[in-house]
């Protein structure tokens, strides 16, 4: 299998039009190429097995691996997130309107979580989503202290990090099943992030080949103060919450639907009573009470770090004060 992968890699090299796009690679240097075999099968033991990076510690992508960003990103305790997509030779994703891009089998989405700036930057984990013949597979890789290698951590783990706010936390690297808690939809694993509406038109033009209607409509998070607060809040909820809070996903039984396209106020929480919130309700009656953020369960749970109360349940050990502020201002401004 490994041997075949090397041969395949060589074939790609020989034919590769995309290689030429990386002139920095000199003829005498070893050329990093992605192992399609690793993408397609098994649980590769290290991140290096995939060959996604020409220099993994520096997060320099290999040929065929393209960085991307999201207009409004998912909050992960303030981690810096480096996102990449690998596309098999000669293939492109296709757009499905404003929604999730459709990636061909053999693609991979790669996301590295890091804390610290400049020379102090420490890579914590790299999560890969592999589009295999039988569906998407999610695998977490944990970086070593020396920052030389990331190894498969099926059971995830915990590590101490200091957030950009200066808070020391126990950071949870999700296990393989927990990946599915957020990435699960109708029983299958799907990507969450790369929706056309949340990506730059220029990137879509270059990578997809066209800009679908409804693309690039969610605001850039850094410009949140310049856009209507409703747009910023709804984008934030879509990106941070709606992968679970929608039909067919992990929190479907709550009846709460926080997707961007949901237009029914009760469905996204306005005067909606809790169902299975337990003490998460904090003694409050409704998800959102217009004009009253502090009477709204949504704000209460976003503002908590207590297990069993805090939302999101996974991937959050600290309160996202900026996200909370946007959502609270949106609720504050709703007509009573």
């Amino acid at each position: 299998m490994k041997h075949a992968a090397i041969l395949l890699g060589a074939a790609v090299l020989a034919l590769g039009g995309s290689i030429a796009a990386y002139p920095a690679l000199g003829a005498t240097e070893p050329v990093a190429t992605v192992s399609d075999a690793a993408v397609m099968d098994g649980f590769p033991a290290t991140l290096a097995d995939y060959g996604f990076f020409s220099d993994a510690p520096k997060q320099q992508p290999a040929a065929g691996v393209t960085p991307y960003r999201l207009n409004t990103p998912l909050y992960s305790d303030g981690a810096d997130k480096l996102r990449f997509v690998y596309l098999p030779q000669g293939q492109r994703p296709t757009a499905d309107g404003e929604g999730l891009l459709r990636f061909p089998v053999g693609s991979a989405l790669i996301k590295t979580f890091a804390f610290g700036e400049g020379a102090e930057r420490r890579l914590i984990e790299t999560r890969v989503l592999l589009h295999r013949a039988e569906g998407w597979e999610a695998l977490p890789y944990l970086w070593n202290d020396e920052q030389t290698e990331a190894v498969l951590a099926l059971v995830g783990g915990r590590t101490q990090v200091v957030t950009p706010e200066g808070e020391a936390i126990s950071y949870r690297i999700p296990n393989k099943n927990q990946c599915k808690e957020c990435h699960g939809l109708e029983g299958a694993v799907v990507p969450i992030g790369p929706k056309a509406r949340n990506m730059a038109a220029g990137w879509l033009k270059a990578v997809v080949g066209s800009v679908p209607a409804g693309a690039d409509t969610m605001p850039r998070w850094e410009a949140r103060a310049q856009v209507p607060v409703e747009a910023a809040a709804r984008a934030y909820l879509d990106v941070n919450c709606a992968h679970c809070h929608r039909r067919g996903a992990t929190a479907s039984n709550s009846g709460l639907d926080l997707r961007w396209e949901q237009r029914d106020p009760q469905a996204f929480g306005v005067f909606k009573r809790p169902v299975a919130a337990g003490r998460g309700s904090g003694g409050l009656e409704f998800g959102i009470v217009p004009g009253e953020p502090h009477a709204s369960i949504m704000v209460h749970r976003m503002d908590s770090t207590e297990t069993g109360v805090a939302m999101p349940e996974l991937g959050k050990a600290t309160v996202d004060s900026e996200g909370l502020g946007v959502v609270a201002r949106w609720i504050e401004g709703m007509a009573k």
């Binding site: 299998m1 099968d41 098994g42 099926l154 059971v155 995830g156 783990g157 915990r158 126990s170 949870r172 296990n175 393989k176 099943n177 927990q178 599915k180 808690e181 699960g184 029983g187 039909r247 992990t250 479907s252 039984n253 009846g255 009760q266 909606k272 009573r273 809790p274 169902v275 299975a276 919130a277 337990g278 003490r279 998460g280 309700s281 904090g282 003694g283 409050l284 009656e285 409704f286 369960i297 207590e306 297990t307 069993g308 349940e313 996974l314 050990a317």
Partner: protein, 401 residues
């Protein structure tokens, strides 16, 4: 590649082939070792928990079909979540055909064991306990199957849940039997579910014993076809400790069996003692709602013969003193709110040997406004109920051997 081949073989055969047993001992690294076994298990495998206490720092999850998790007994193999730092529940199951048996779960921060979209599941002799007794800071649900079909909960125990001990939601074909629910807000709750049998359980020291509810604004509504029989529902006198805002926070201390907004519910042959608000309560959903697909009224609720005491001797109801005086010291055992949706339909029938009373409300969603309490005057049950297709399938039973 080899793993895939084995999985394919297992799928092709009715009996799992090459099923493996993975034994997990308590002690150092138990969290990682157990979670790894749950991730790497193949369909048909069994994960065995040795006797002892397993200190859990995070929630566990299982997403492989047809796996059994088996301990050495509900008090012998204990997953202790007292130090839990993450996840909304102790154990989450998201695959089909799973059997959970013979282990205990203590002090999960959120729910105890949740199985979501997990069909054909057996919970046998599992225990979820919040060891500090009833507290609002305890997790909401002990055993929590939801959005699933074919569920058997047998010989299990839950105590301390701040919502419902055994909660089955948005599901169908359910059996809850031979189980013990104590010191919860609700002992056993069947919510937005159909074709359920709740029998031979011991339900005591809760705020309310057995609740059969249907709620609006949920993906699955239209609860009904529920049989509640041969349960011992006694001394459900614990003050309500649910966090306000949740629907069960409105359950009155001293409620025995409560039906809210369901159709075709049969209550018979239960022993009901010392449920001092109402041994049996049948009501419409009490709050305002605007979900057009939701029916807030109880329909075709049958109270057959039950062994019941004199009724509500210490009701947690506004105007209790006057009501007790009017009814001679105890409110008759069956309490109805008097609300009827379709005037052509029969909301409630009651065995002639069991007395009742009605609030005689006239409008849904208006609380107790306009109550004109009076003795109950409804028809008597006519004939047997047909329960074919209710309850868990016989194939789940076979796994208990």
């Amino acid at each position: 590649m080899i793993r895939l081949t084995i999985a394919a073989l297992a799928l092709a055969s009715t009996a799992p082939v090459l099923a493996a047993t993975h034994t997990i001992a308590p002690g150092e690294g138990a969290q990682e070792r157990l979670q790894e076994a749950l991730i790497l298990a193949q369909p048909g495998d069994e994960i065995v928990l040795e006797a002892g206490r397993f200190a859990m720092l995070d929630g566990l999850s299982l997403d492989v079909d047809n796996v059994t998790i088996r301990g050495a007994g509900m008090h012998a193999s204990v997953l202790d979540f007292t130090g839990q730092q993450g996840s909304g529940e102790g154990l989450l199951v998201t695959s089909d055909g799973v059997t959970l048996r013979d282990f205990g779960v203590e002090n999960p921060k959120g729910d105890g064991i949740k199985s979501k979209g997990a069909d054909d599941i057996v919970y046998h002799a599992v225990r979820v306990t919040w060891t500090g007794g009833p507290k609002a800071t305890n997790g909401a649900y002990g055993l929590y199957p939801v959005e699933s079909t074919n569920i058997l909960i047998d010989s299990s125990e839950v105590s301390g849940a701040s919502d419902a001990g055994i909660y089955v939601g948005q599901s169908s074909r359910i059996t809850v039997r031979n189980s013990v629910a104590t010191d919860n807000v609700a002992g056993i709750e069947i919510e937005n579910s159909r074709d359920a049998i709740v029998e031979r359980n011991f339900v005591s020291r809760n705020t309310g014993g057995i609740l059969v509810f249907d709620l609006p604004d949920l993906p699955v509504m239209g609860g009904g076809n529920v049989l509640v029989r041969n349960n011992l529902v006694a001394a459900n006198t614990t003050p309500n400790f649910a966090p306000p805002g949740n629907i069960v926070a409105g359950v009155r201390r001293g409620t025995g069996i409560m039906v809210m907004a369901n159709e075709n519910v049969w209550i018979g042959q239960n022993l009901l003692y010392n449920n001092p608000t109402a041994p049996i309560m049948v009501i419409a959903y009490p709050l305002a709602f605007d979900d057009p697909d939701y029916n807030p009224y109880p329909r075709a609720v049958t109270v057959e013969w039950n062994q019941v005491d004199e009724g509500g001797k210490d009701p947690q109801i506004d105007g209790a003193a006057q009501l007790l005086a009017a009814f001679g010291g105890a409110l008759p055992p069956v309490m109805w709110d008097g609300l009827v949706g379709d005037p052509e339909s029969i909301a409630l029938t009651v065995h002639p040997d069991i007395a009742g009373w009605t609030l005689n409300l006239t409008e849904q969603g208006k609380g107790m406004e306009g109550a004109r309490p009076a003795p109950l005057d409804v028809g008597v049950p006519g004939g047997q109920i047909a329960i074919e297709g209710w309850g868990a399938g016989a194939e789940l039973e076979a796994r208990l051997k």
